[in-house]
Amino acid sequence: MKKWVGKALLPFLMCMVGIAAVLIGIIYFDFISERIYEDSTDHLEEIYGQVNRSFGAFVERNWGLLDGWNDYIRLNSASPETVSGFIEKEHEYWGFSEFYFLSADETGMTIDGQRDKMDLGGAWNDLREHGEPVMAGDAVSESKDITVFAVPVEHGEYNGFGYDAVAVSYTNADMASSLNVDAFAGEGKCFVIHNDGSILLSTQTGGNVFGNYFMYLNAASDLDEQKLAKMRTDWENETTGLVQCKIGGVSHCILYQPVGYQDYILLSAVPQSVVSAGFLSVQKITMNVFIVIFLLLGAAVFALIVMRNRRQSRITRTELNYRERMFDVLSNNVDDIFIMLDSENQSVDYISPNIERLLGIPAAEVRENIRVIEKCAINFNVVIPKNVLEEIPLNGNKYWECEYMHQNTGERRWYRMTIYHMSIQDVKKYIVVMSDRTLEQQMNQKLQEALTAAQSANEAKSNFLSNMSHDIRTPMNAIVGFSVLLEKDADNAEKVREYTRKITASSHHLLSLINDVLDMSKIESGKTSLNVDRFNLPELLEELSIILMPQAKAKNQKLKIDGGQAPREYIIGDKLRLNQILINLLSNAVKYTPEGGKIEFIVRELPQTAQQYVNLQFVVRDNGIGMSEEFQKNVFAPFSREINSVTNKIQGTGLGMAITKNLVDLMGGIIRVKSKPGQGSTFTVELSFALAEQDDMQQPSNENDHNRPEPDENVMRGRRFLIAEDNELNAEILTEMLGMEGVICELAVNGEEAVKMFEKSEQGYYDMIFMDVQMPVMNGYEATRQIRSCGRPDAESVPIAAMTANTFAEDVRNAMDAGMNGHLAKPIDMDAVRKLASRLISGKESRSEKSE
């Protein structure tokens, strides 16, 4: 409050001083004007008083002259020449127009005898009846603007003309010059008028067109009836007066004063500006001095105010500059944008400069038009809707969030728009704060994605368990059920064989399911790695043919393998995984193609820009049952199997295609499927492989392997095997099964015992060792390494085969690295045991023979 009073006091005081100065000025000028008017009118009255006196003297002089001349004439009346000469001289001296003898009948005769009819009007009566000297206008009937002065005389006679008065006449022009009214720059009009306003004579420059000045004032001036009546009364009462009026819009001073003879009045009309001209110049000088002083004082006060305001505004400006710079620096270092809008027209009063960095729009463009921000907006057109602004009450705010894209970089940012409606120094403004919420938004998105992923994983786990429960229980049900039936029908050999066959089939299916699950699990957990090595592509195709041709033949299908379009022989890749992919695809083709169907397997090379790589396309096409469009979308999802009358009869884990897809992904390739129900399916796999040098591609020929005779079924008969197995049940099964093959088995319960038994045995005592991997005390790998390194001659050659539930390729590789010669997966497949045993024993013997 005090501050306000302090701020307002000075201007208030200055206003008061200014008003006081103006009032003093007005009063002063009124006073001066009044004084000047009084002085002017005094001046006017003085001048025309002098004129009036001069005129009176002129009249008196003429009358006096006439009296004197009459005496001279009367004395010399006998000598007209003398009289004529005298009058002529007087005429030249005094400047009158004519001298007249006036007879009793109002006839005038000039000195040279010319007679004129005279008309002195009312003056004639005064002259004749009252014997008074008179003055009359237009008294000579034949002449205009003539004034006559006459005096009565005793009756006389001149040249036979009897007369009772003598007179002289003057033209008005001569009269005017004698009245000497050149004052007021000749702009004053001077009239000798009768008291009714009719004009006797005028001093009007250039002549007189006024007949009755009262009538003219009545018509041309702004005098009202009251003032006119007063003036007329003054004239009749022979009273001096002065009035001011406007004639034709020009202010005039009208002065009238009685002449003193008859009813004559001397009237003067002078423009006010002329009357006051001299005084006005003084007034003007005074006014100018006053104005100059006033202006100087005003200028000084104004300068003081300006300087004070400038100092104040400089301080304010500096402070504002500091604030603005600080705010600019601040806003440049944060990701929030600040905008100030005018409430009236929404013009931009301020925009923080960081908008160009954050949204790619120059601040100047935004300053021109706030709407340019809209081109950065995503999913909405109007950034700051006008109706929204108008809805915000004063001192209220409103906020929402929206996404923007940087105009240059395309970077997306989330902003929380908060608009405050406030009054700043009585001016309503909108403050827009665009607060950066990008990190928060990204975190929310990640959390949401994680939540979704967790929910998906949970769902997948539930699905997996549900599927596993179903898929495991199905073969288990067969095994358990047929085992019960086997016990019941143990005496019926036919049924025992049938039940045993079904139990075996179910067991194989269960085993396949477990293998796939484990394989899938390993791939998805990222533990699967590719065993990249050079391999022979034609060989792989040959092997596939060997594996799949029998299955196709069994279903009377035509399987065509066309590898001719892939000229490369040696490439570098994971042969095992490629094999797995292709077997999965081809097995499915065989499986889902009805008997007599056709299956094509085509390998072709795709264009490749890099010379050291080759892109291969593997196409498996069948004319089998095909897939619905809906199922094709999930064909690579785990446990996905299309349910229809055909597939229900076909066993499958539903993991094959998922594994295949994962393997293809692992190898950096792509897999596509095209299918139509009832028309067949086409799977296309495209993979990139490095090319192997041709020279280095000489692989040890496995021709011998191919030519190797089928293992003799009796190769194990009579042999002695060391079985290292900690699980008593597994050991018994293996012992029993090998016993059925004529093998003599000795059992060690862990690796250490196996090593000790081998070391204690005689040279060549054991023909082969089956080594479990995971065993207490010492695992199979360690046991193998100790056996191989125990120093006995047969320690290096004795075949050792891993017999383990660890069935992955890494497990195989680990087994080989430990010094083993082969790998058998549990559960034990006797066919596999036979083949392996036959290969290893035969190989050992072959090497022994060569060494010998």
């Binding site: 205009k144 306003g197 009007q204 420059t205 250039g206 002549g207 007189n208 067109v209 006024f210 007949g211 009755n212 000045y213 009262f214 009538m215 003219y216 004032l217 009545n218 018509a219 041309a220 004639i247 034709g248 819009g249 020009v250």
Partner: protein
């Protein structure tokens, strides 16, 4: 009664005498005279009256050849060019008359008996610069001057002016009263300029000669510039009123009759033919004073512009044509024709016409300051339309006084060149 019989007898004798004279000269055959004039001019009552009187008295016929006013000059000059010159040709003594090769086509009438009966003003109007009488004036004569509303002026306590200075004071005094001092219809004011130019050239015949020989121009005559300056000042002083630039001929009557304007430069017959009746002021309220336009200290009046009857000197009926003019100039005949017509006398013997009080009251002033119409009739290339056009530029502030004078010269010279005047 005796007097009446005597007059009837004398009339019959005169008719017989005239009839026998005409018949004698024409070999006893009735003659048909051709007479060419403007249609509206020939329809004037005094013209039809004299034609009827002539045909009745002589038995001769008049074949009237008339053209519309707007095409008269062009059509008539074409006829002349084709040799179709009428026996009698009617035309005003103005610049357009030069189209008709006066010296070769028309007979000078200096020696005709009736010339003594012409008033000085009428004769002066009809004479060429060499004093040759070109035709018989047969028209309403008038006096042009400054006609003012005397009733109004008296009521304002004002008097008419007798000098240019007084006139200026009068205009100023009138303007102060709120009345329009001078009714000046800008679009139809050519005659006003014509009045102003009369004193310059009528009082200084040598100037007229020089300007007609193209030895000097208006710009070389200071009085012309003074006149234009006065008009410009009068306009600026408001002496023409407020909306005068929009006014024309039709505005003069209501402005004067209503008293809105106090004075105008016009002619006396206008009050009988054009001043609207029933308004505030009538003809009785008006009086005459000279025109003051800064070219004559004591002002000027202009005599009438008269239609003349001119005789084809090459006519085969020349004698009959001259007899026709004599018939028209006969006191008895023209008094019948002009009976009741408001006109100033063209003939000294005119008694039946009506003479304006306004004119007769100022007979002395007219005698002192009257001038024959000179500018319009004697200045080669003078054109009323050109004058209006030049002053229009001045009034619209498109040019100044000097520019206006130059325009007057340019238009005049161009017209003179067009007419093929010698020296241009």
């Amino acid at each position: 009664m005796k007097k009446k019989y005597f007059l009837l007898f004398m009339t019959l004798i005169a008719m017989l005498a005239l009839s026998s004279c005409t018949g004698g000269k024409s070999g006893g055959d009735k003659v048909t005279l051709t007479l060419m004039g403007k249609r509206s001019d020939l329809q004037k009552s005094y013209m039809t009256s004299i034609f009827e009187q002539y045909e009745a008295a002589t038995g001769n016929k008049l074949e009237i050849i008339s053209y519309d006013d707007v095409e008269y000059e062009t059509t008539a000059s074409e006829k002349f060019a084709n040799g179709e010159v009428p026996d009698i040709f009617m035309h005003f003594h103005n610049a357009d008359l030069n189209r008709f090769d006066v010296p070769n086509n028309f007979l000078y009438l200096n020696d005709e008996a009736w010339t003594d009966d012409l008033t000085d003003d009428a004769r002066a109007y009809c004479e060429d610069k060499d004093g040759n009488l070109l035709g018989l004036p047969y028209w309403e004569n008038s006096v042009s001057g400054c006609y003012y509303n005397k009733t109004l002026l008296d009521s304002l306590g004002l008097k008419p002016a007798s000098t240019q200075a007084e006139f200026d004071v009068l205009c100023q005094a009138l303007a102060a009263t709120g009345y329009t001092p001078i009714c000046w219809p800008a679009s139809d004011s050519s005659w006003m300029i014509q009045f102003a130019l009369d004193p310059i050239f009528a009082d200084n015949p040598e100037l007229l000669d020089k300007i007609n020989r193209n030895e000097i121009s208006y710009a070389d005559i200071p009085e012309v510039t003074d006149m234009v300056q006065w008009v410009a000042d009068a306009a600026d002083n408001g002496w023409f009123g407020s909306d005068w630039t929009e006014k024309g001929w039709d505005n003069i009557s209501p402005d004067m009759a209503s008293g809105e304007a106090v004075m105008t430069f016009i002619w006396d017959t206008w009050f009988y033919t054009d001043l609207e009746k029933g308004n505030k002021y009538s003809i009785d309220d008006f009086a005459l004073m000279p025109v003051f336009m800064n070219t004559a200290e004591n002002g000027t009046y202009e005599g009438g512009n008269l239609n003349m009857m001119m005789v084809n000197k090459n006519s085969e009926h020349l004698d009959t044509a001259l007899e026709f003019l004599a018939f028209c100039a006969d006191k008895k005949n023209y008094n019948v024709a002009f009976d009741g017509i408001s006109t100033v006398n063209c003939f000294k013997g005119q008694t039946t016409n009506i003479q304006s009080r306004m004119v007769t009251d100022e007979a002395d002033s007219i005698e002192a300051n009257g001038r024959v119409s000179t500018a319009a009739s004697r200045i080669i290339g003078y054109s009323a339309d050109d004058v209006v056009a030049a002053f229009g530029e001045l009034f619209n502030k498109k040019t100044d006084v000097a520019g206006c004078v130059k325009l007057l010269d340019d238009y005049r010279i161009a017209e003179a060149v067009k007419q093929g005047a010698e020296g241009f």
